[in-house]
């Protein structure tokens, strides 16, 4: 049933965010550390269990697939509720700091990508 998929997905999110909160407490930061990441790992593990008993039925998968397909619309809504006005109207220093940080990070991607792939640096 569809609800099984939705419930599984919800359980993964709650469990992951909980772990992230606890981890944040443990290392003494006031933030969630990796909650969504843990939730994703949990979902990947649970949906790939080798046992036949846990094999997800197509309807159950549909409950997860729907929310995966809603990703882009949700991100569009997320964009529409950003505080863009504050970002733009608070002066040059904040804008330059943000732009410079993004530019530096973009520039770093090819460098790390090459290293991670195991030294194919001659290309």
């Amino acid at each position: 049933m569809v609800i099984y998929g939705v419930a599984l997905l919800s359980f993964c999110l709650l469990a992951g965010v909980f772990v992230g909160d606890v981890l944040g407490e443990l290392i003494g930061v006031r933030a969630n550390v990796g909650g969504v990441g843990f939730a994703m790992l949990l979902l990947i593990v649970l949906s790939n269990l080798p046992s036949q008993r846990f094999k997800l039925k197509p309807m159950t998968e549909g409950g997860i697939g729907f929310w995966s397909a809603m990703y882009i619309p949700i991100v569009v809504a997320m964009a529409a509720r950003q505080n863009v006005f504050a970002a733009i109207s608070s002066g040059w220093m904040a804008i330059i700091a943000g732009v410079a940080a993004v530019a530096a990070s973009f520039a770093m991607i090819p460098v790390l990508d090459r290293i991670g792939k195991g030294g194919r640096s001659d290309s």
């Binding site: 943000g98 410079a100 770093m108 991670g116």
Partner: protein, 254 residues
Amino acid sequence: MILDALSAVLVQNGLITAFVFVGVLVWVSYQLSARLTRGYIHGSAIAIALGLVLAWVGGSMTGGSQGLADFSLLAGVGVMGGAMFRDFAIVATAFGADVDALKKAGFVGVASVFIGVVLSFSVGAVVAVAFGYTDPVAISTIGAGAATYIVGPVTGTALGADSDVIALSVAAGLTKSVLVMIGTPLIASRIGLNTPHAALIYGGLMGTTSGVAGGLAATDPKLVPYGAMTATFYTGVGCLLAPSVLFLIVRAVL
């Protein structure tokens, strides 16, 4: 009277109104993409950009902090685009992700988060110094804001920064997040952002969950789980490093 009744229905069913609104916005964007750019600029990239423009309009008209969602008719957009649904949908994209790609990038994924935090912090701190700041607390807070708009205020509060400096750090983080959303699809091919491996590194370096979520949605939705996976650790690592090690380094250097 009819208008009152209509607006009452739309307000009372806010989330449903948001579904209609976003549906129309996405449809318009895909039409623009197909007709004006012949699919060259992806429909989702246009939709996200339009969303940001509308958010700016909302902020300038209402003076609120939630963009379009500050119009009571569109309050549902705030729910639909809030952290709860965003994280829910991000986790859903992990279904069917390539486990091998995640395993292979383990070390460089972790490294990218730490490099990303230090890099953005340093760049932000240098900009703060260039603008005449000399107080290590203010410089660190602005540097932390260049990491994400959560790391900034957390660091500023921990170090006892002035509220106007904290506001600036939030603005730097917001600028970063907006720019990552818009800039990623434009620059993706030039920086080789087309594999799960590169997406993992991208998420770790950028770190802003909203920026990464929007940037990858506009570039290639298949890459979302990889980028989101590393980005989700970034704010935590930032909140750990910025008020401690990085602040001490700033104080030692000045």
